[in-house]
Symmetry: C2
Subunit: 383 residues, 2 copies
């Protein structure tokens, strides 16, 4: 069995989820977030691209409803014993099959939580679920229940986070090795991803961000790689991934020589990064991390060049998104707690001049403040 | 502007979507599938992990509502001129902002189609959308509208599909080069992904499937790589990806020597693959492709060892899923049409003996039948 946590740790997580269900007066939870399934049972798949539900009762009972290709997947990767299969066909109606299974558990007229905020539960499937369970039981959104548990990492999880961070550092070393005038972006990406996969890591939950020239001011992946110019700028935002735990880094690398203003922007970015780390303190609302970023940017005349958010939690996220809940934006009241892992990204994009500067680190919240999970300096590296 | 199709081709696609809206009596479409956005406008992002909507009216008008990090992304990758931004915050309500925009377009009491079957529209956001637009306009599921248009590829698209197929072939060559007794799965993955990225390709919309030993009987990715034993079996299912177009291949590679039964299973797999290709004919229901797979497996005593589906359409899919609509399962009435691209995967897993055999090719439906988009033989390769 390819379990990456002890059965005891997984059982403890389910026990805490059950306690939260009971505290909320819920009789069970319909789980659609793959990260929740992995967290509670070890179950590891991308089968959530079709209708798939893990039920966890307030009595601790749990079963999985999925398609045939995931039967063995669940057997090989998880502690789930009770695996049920629905079959594709023009008349397939897995939500109705789920209803019948819930009826067998005497859940008629009971209250169930639902993870509605899940890529694995498309709008269409959510509406079918609601229609199937209408007049059967009361449903309420409990998307946050397991996500809240996942937010603070256990010692066993932090081991994997640190391994992910080491893979991210190696990927940055590969970027420094391969970037330079005339380099092909595809070769840079291949080197970065390669060192992670060779290190036993996983694909990231979303693509690495790579952009140069005017596209160095983008912060999403897009298709179509180019060669770097003799004088250019290269923005990279990427994750080391180990056991699906993500640790991110971000850098803009001037090619040839820094563009006008880029040296100053780098100083501001590093100052902002340090201010954000100082603001990330146990007990303080994480919205203050954004405020620190904004304050430093604004003080240096970069108000128009900053983003509306400056990072987010990281964990065992699955495609299409490594950005875990919650996010650093103004006013976010969630408190920082030791054991949380966040990515702080500092983005300063001067649209008027077409100049980018970024920096970023993954940090672990400690009892005193936070610890950067990277051995790579934040200094400007020109290639 | 990094457009990968001419503005005329993109305009033609929108004109066909508009014609379908009019034919269905719809006044507009709320688009949440990233593949639809890419298809209609070129817009290329993973920003759909947050609330994001492209509106296309039956009058041809279109605008995008997204978050700030995607403003430049839309400007740099698409033909969308009208880009509107919603801002994160504890009180953020993008669905209500969307309603206000629709009201400006005088869509009160009109009929709008919605792409509810979208990873970019989670159950929670769909329910918020429905609540925001209740009593404002009539909504109906039109998830299939653009997907139907996307199903038949244009000549310009087929150029990219063929490039993707070439990258898949190179990845298989890398697998043959690196697989063998003692090889580390992570090194194999790195070599396969590396040749695709160096060739200007993209990340796949879901992870490559790699499994050995007992996990060679899985057909999903999972974390945790191992070294191959002196006698082993390695199952690989992967995609070359170019401009987000996918071309898949699948193979099981015996390591050291074939396991008992594996030679016979390979013969059956190849016979089934050929039978599927013969069954994929313009005008015939694609469910018959599954029937051909089932018939060959059953005739050779592998009824218990086969799947409930044997492949699916391929196209410009985005994470978390490269499996496009529609799928080869029994009774699927969708007709094959020239210009469609399908992945036929033949999977025979003997659970009792723990032996796997797979094969698979991407094919293009032609006027006469179908054409395999791979130059790699389907012969058994033992490493």
């Amino acid at each position: 069995m390819a379990l990456h946590f002890t059965s005891e740790e997984l059982a403890g997580r389910r026990a805490r989820a059950v306690a939260m269900l009971q505290a909320r007066g819920l009789d069970g939870l319909l789980i659609f977030r793959q990260e929740s399934m992995f967290y509670l049972t070890g179950y590891d798949t991308f089968g959530y691209v079709f209708f798939q539900c893990l039920y966890l009762g307030a009595d601790g009972r749990f079963f999985l409803l999925t398609r045939a290709p995931d039967l063995r997947q669940a057997q090989h990767t998880s502690v789930i014993d009770d695996i049920r299969i629905w079959v594709d066909g023009p008349e397939a109606s897995p939500a109705l099959e789920l209803k019948a299974m819930l009826a067998e558990l005497h859940l008629h007229n009971k209250r169930l939580g639902v993870e509605y905020e899940a890529y694995g539960l498309t709008g269409r499937n959510a509406m079918r679920l609601n229609a199937a369970l209408e007049d059967f039981c009361k449903l309420e959104d409990a998307s946050d229940l397991v996500s809240r548990l996942r937010l603070v990492k256990s010692p066993a999880e932090i081991v994997y986070v640190r391994q992910a961070a080491e893979l991210a550092d190696r990927a940055l070393e590969e970027a420094h090795r391969t970037a330079g005038p005339g380099a092909f972006e595809g070769d840079i990406l291949a080197a970065m991803q390669g060192v992670i996969l060779r290190g036993g890591g996983d694909d990231p939950a979303n693509e690495f961000i790579i952009g140069s020239g005017r596209d160095a001011l983008l912060c999403r992946y897009f298709t179509g790689r180019r060669k770097l110019d003799p004088k250019d700028q290269l923005t990279l935002e990427f994750a080391g991934v180990y056991r699906h735990y993500h640790a991110c880094l971000m850098r803009t690398i001037p090619i040839g020589e820094p563009l006008p203003g880029q040296l100053e922007m780098h100083k501001v970015a590093v100052e902002a990064l340090e201010a954000c780390k100082t603001a990330l303190k146990p007990g303080r609302p994480i919205g203050e991390v954004f405020d620190a970023y904004a304050r430093v940017c604004d003080a240096h005349g970069h108000r128009e060049n900053r983003m509306n958010a400056t990072g987010y939690s990281l964990g065992t996220t699955f495609a299409p998104n490594w950005m875990d809940w919650p996010m650093f934006y103004h006013g976010n009241p969630e408190p920082a707690v030791p054991g949380q892992v966040f990515f702080i990204h500092i983005i300063i994009f001067d649209s008027a001049k077409g100049v980018a500067m970024t920096n970023g680190q993954t940090v672990l919240v400690t009892e005193q403040g936070c610890e950067a999970l990277s051995r790579m300096p934040v200094d400007l590296v020109v290639k």
